[in-house]
């Protein structure tokens, strides 16, 4: 394995993405909506709302959370407790949906796109190994989604601390569970999703078909990631460690299997089934 070539393939794919404003502008807007606008509006509504009854009802609704989660909620006032719960527990899916959506969009086009543009011919005749091409494209698909998520996570942390912090006695976010979620649980789900998406991208005939099929395949995965992420936040620290560990194992198996799907014949578009 020549890691220099892996890096070259990844950097070149990323350079092309940077040139594609029609791709990254909508993705930035998506990240901004999920990580900034929606939480800001909701948290401001809770902490600044004048309707005490509404906040009280929301605070009472927290009783449906697991006891372990309820014990973690900070804040003296109902508004503070409701905002804390909202910030820490209810926005977890955001951290999963955004990277999966962005990386799926990138990954779906990555191999079939080479074939459609005719550049697959260049790669097929180049000295780069198919595993190097696969890993390069995997990294190039993973980085935009994960980077957007990390930046969005930073913005979200700021929003949460600025709006909810005064209600609970100071800056508190990210919590330990969120760190684990972002650094340990989300990456393997992202890798697993991409291993499936790249397989599809190598097999289908057009980018449009790859996008459609990827949507179908990743939707259940997004739901699993959604539930597992939420569970990781609700549960104890060890639960999220285990969820992450299992996800990593499944992801590694998926990536290893997926590596076999990229062949020179598929880059050329002459393999059976294309």
């Amino acid at each position: 394995m020549n890691w220099g070539r892996v890096s070259t393939v990844a950097r070149t794919d990323l350079r092309q993405l940077i040139q594609a404003k029609d791709f990254w502008v909508p993705m930035m807007i998506l990240g901004a909506i999920f990580f900034f606008f929606v939480p800001t509006i909701l948290l401001l509504a809770i902490t600044r709302v004048g309707d005490i009854n509404a906040v009280q009802q929301l605070s009472n609704a927290l009783e449906v959370l697991p006891q372990q989660a309820q014990d973690q909620i900070q804040g003296e006032s109902p508004a503070g407790r409701a905002a804390y719960a909202m910030a820490v527990f209810l926005f977890a899916p955001v951290a999963v949906v955004v990277p999966l959506t962005i990386s799926t969009a990138v990954g779906a086009a990555t191999i079939v796109g080479e074939r459609e543009r005719g550049t697959g011919e260049f790669l097929a005749h180049s000295p780069a190994g198919v595993k190097e091409i696969y890993l390069g494209k995997l990294i190039a698909s993973l980085i935009p989604g994960y980077l957007t998520t990390l930046v969005g996570f930073g913005v979200y942390s700021l929003v949460v601390n600025l709006i909810v912090g005064p209600e609970v006695g100071g800056w508190f976010f990210p919590t330990q569970q969120w760190w684990i979620l972002m650094l340990w649980v989300v990456p393997p789900f992202l890798a697993l999703t991409l291993s499936l998406v790249l397989r599809l991208s190598a097999r289908v005939k057009s980018t449009a078909a790859a996008q459609q099929a990827s949507g179908l395949v990743t939707l259940p995965l997004i739901m699993v990631a959604y539930s597992q992420s939420t569970g990781a936040l609700f549960g104890a620290g060890s639960a999220s460690i285990w969820i992450g560990a299992i996800a990593w194992i499944v992801a590694i198996v998926g990536l290893t299997q997926g590596m076999r799907v990229v062949t020179r014949a598929r880059l050329l578009g002459v393999a059976d089934g294309i």
Partner: protein, 324 residues
């Protein structure tokens, strides 16, 4: 479906070998097998003495390929396209790569456009950039798959001149085309492919000599039947008459093609025809073109299906054999 069957191809060093054949003849597949992008189900491929299926990385590093489509990244600049190739082919990212990029771009007259996005290039510029990319790492073997595809006549001529210059400076070139005129005067060796197999291979002069051992002369006459007396004239090796229709005067018009052992016999044959009252309207010595050869080979493929007739290349195998 078999893309290639029993192909025997050897490309002499520092020369241009042209794979000639209609669409679907297997030309592109042959190139893909040479680099190991595709592997044969049976038979063997040897390039530089290596098996591309096993030593693919080394074989591909020593090859430069231009595909029928230029296979360039439209969103990237010309420089970035070349830099990508430089890195993949082991030139790295330093000064050596930059020098190779500038040098190859200058060679193909594309250096002024290197900072522009390739999406804005004309087809001719894209082909030049693809050619520059193919030679940047100084490959031992250049493989061009219909490099003038989509180009206007002027650009095609320029590209073919560049290819000729490459061979003149010591490169070994294998080029695919279905355009006979393109191969004419460029090919030092021609391999005629059809249905994935080579019908014939050799130097164009040698092949035309094989098909037309004598000089070919075409004669037109007002009464073409009168030309038939040439069939048994001294020095005539073969004779064929072609009826072309009826002239306004009501007399038949037509021509005949004769093969002579010596072009010097033409005056005496014309004189003999005139004496016999045959009015010859045109005498045209014909040097067979590659097009003549191509169609002669295709028309006579049953007779010439036997392998190895005059081929300067390697012996035929029971499978695919592609050597360079």
């Amino acid at each position: 479906m078999q893309a290639l069957t029993d192909l025997d191809l050897t490309a002499p060093r520092e020369s241009i070998t042209v794979l000639l054949g209609p669409n679907g003849a297997g030309k592109t597949t042959a190139i893909r097998m040479i680099t190991g992008a595709l592997n044969p189900d049976k038979g063997q491929v040897r390039v530089f003495g290596l098996d591309p299926a096993v030593d693919g990385e080394e074989v591909r590093t020593r090859c430069g390929v231009v595909s029928a489509k230029p296979a360039l990244y439209d969103r990237l600049t010309g420089w970035d396209n070349l830099a990508y190739s430089a890195e993949l082919y082991g030139l790295g990212r330093g000064d050596a790569a930059a020098t190779a990029i500038r040098s190859s771009a200058t060679r193909f007259g594309i250096d002024d456009a290197l900072d522009q996005q390739v999406g804005g290039y004309s087809t001719g510029m894209k082909t030049r950039l693809a050619l520059a990319r193919s030679v940047m790492h100084e490959p031992d073997l250049l493989l061009f798959d219909e490099p003038t595809s989509g180009l206007d006549p002027e650009s095609s001529h320029a590209v073919l001149e560049m290819i000729r210059e490459m061979a003149d400076t010591g490169s070994t070139v294998v080029m695919c085309t279905h355009l006979l005129l393109e191969a004419e005067g460029l090919a030092e060796k021609v391999v005629v492919l059809e249905d994935g197999t080579d019908l014939i291979a050799g130097a164009p002069d040698e092949l035309t000599q094989r098909y037309w051992p004598g000089m070919v002369v075409r004669l037109d006459a007002e009464d073409p039947v009168g030309l038939d007396r040439l069939a048994h004239a001294e020095g005539v090796m073969s004779y064929e008459r072609h009826e072309r229709g009826v002239a306004a005067s009501g007399t038949g018009t037509g021509s005949a093609t004769v093969q002579l052992d010596d072009l010097a016999r033409v005056p005496e044959l014309v004189f003999a025809l005139a004496e016999a009252g045959v009015r010859v309207t045109r005498v045209e010595p014909r040097i067979p073109t590659l097009e003549d050869l191509y169609f002669a080979v295709r028309d006579g493929r049953e007779a010439f299906s036997e392998k190895g007739h005059g081929d300067t290349g390697s012996a035929a195998s029971d499978g695919k054999e592609v050597a360079a």
